[in-house]
Subunit: 199 residues, 2 copies
Amino acid sequence: MPQSSLDELIAALRCLPGVGPRSAQRMAYHLLQRDRNGAARLAGAVGHALTVLRHCARCNAFSEEEVCTRCANPHRDPTRLCVVETPADLAMIEQTQAYDGLYYVLMGRLSPLDGIGPRELEFDRLIARACDGEVREVILATNFTNEGEVTAHALAALLTARALSVSRLSRGVPMGGELEHTGIGTIAQALAERRAMVP
Amino acid sequence: MPQSSLDELIAALRCLPGVGPRSAQRMAYHLLQRDRNGAARLAGAVGHALTVLRHCARCNAFSEEEVCTRCANPHRDPTRLCVVETPADLAMIEQTQAYDGLYYVLMGRLSPLDGIGPRELEFDRLIARACDGEVREVILATNFTNEGEVTAHALAALLTARALSVSRLSRGVPMGGELEHTGIGTIAQALAERRAMVP
């Protein structure tokens, strides 16, 4: 293809996760042919976000302010701190409307094979945040994947050493789950962590 | 989520084809967290492409020039014009290195249900291009889908009425194809359009 700015557009679209050469080509043609307004909006939104978004000094989520509105909200319970891997996880917990404490977003998980260790995840920032004198309980809500579990265990060791109460989301059969379609690992866990029923 | 520029970025990413709310969120976090250079490049490439790319006056493909380098190439055969649906189709045919004529890119196909008719595809522009006095054969290389076939038949009627020779890519069993794994429609077509073998 002789058009260099088209090639550059296709190459740039491949910066997006999960976008290969074919998708990038399709996206480029779509933007140029069918949605030039959308393309202009995309260019503007990416540029604007890069300019104004940074990490909240308290929770590490993306924020336009030094401290995000959630962390600055005086109606949230400052004694509980929920640690999640990503902003998407935070959004999921917020949607439950079952938690009114504060958050800390790791922006990742321990992954030694990818070279992501405690230093890359800035564990010391989280420790400093959790040791602000107000936080009493740290709820570890990293994923129940191998890497998420390792991250939770590493953090639990560091946080309990600082006399903080540390908890983890419960594991078990999901809501609406049928045993027949639930993994045996989950069922074994749900058996081991069974709860007394109060009739 | 309280961050409006993040919301706007996620919404803007949904302009891309095949990108739903979850992917858009994942893409936004990826760009902001892991690939800010890529994000800046993307914003620039989209903006630049919107500014400099237009449609070639002859073949209708994207071009930075009034007439693209392919159409302006004197070594290509001006007597044959290959009609394709999209720039991606054109790129596929170029990769075969089996064609040295010129192209016309419809940028779509007839699709009455989507309101795309001869006017939207600017059939009159293609007719004018094919009637430049140099073109003798028009090769219809629209897809072998229902819509691509309808488009080819409609164009064939218009072009033969103007005393142009019109051909269509052959249909049949693909290279390396095994009959056992070939659709019966294709096999029926390959039977009906069988070719004499010259030993």
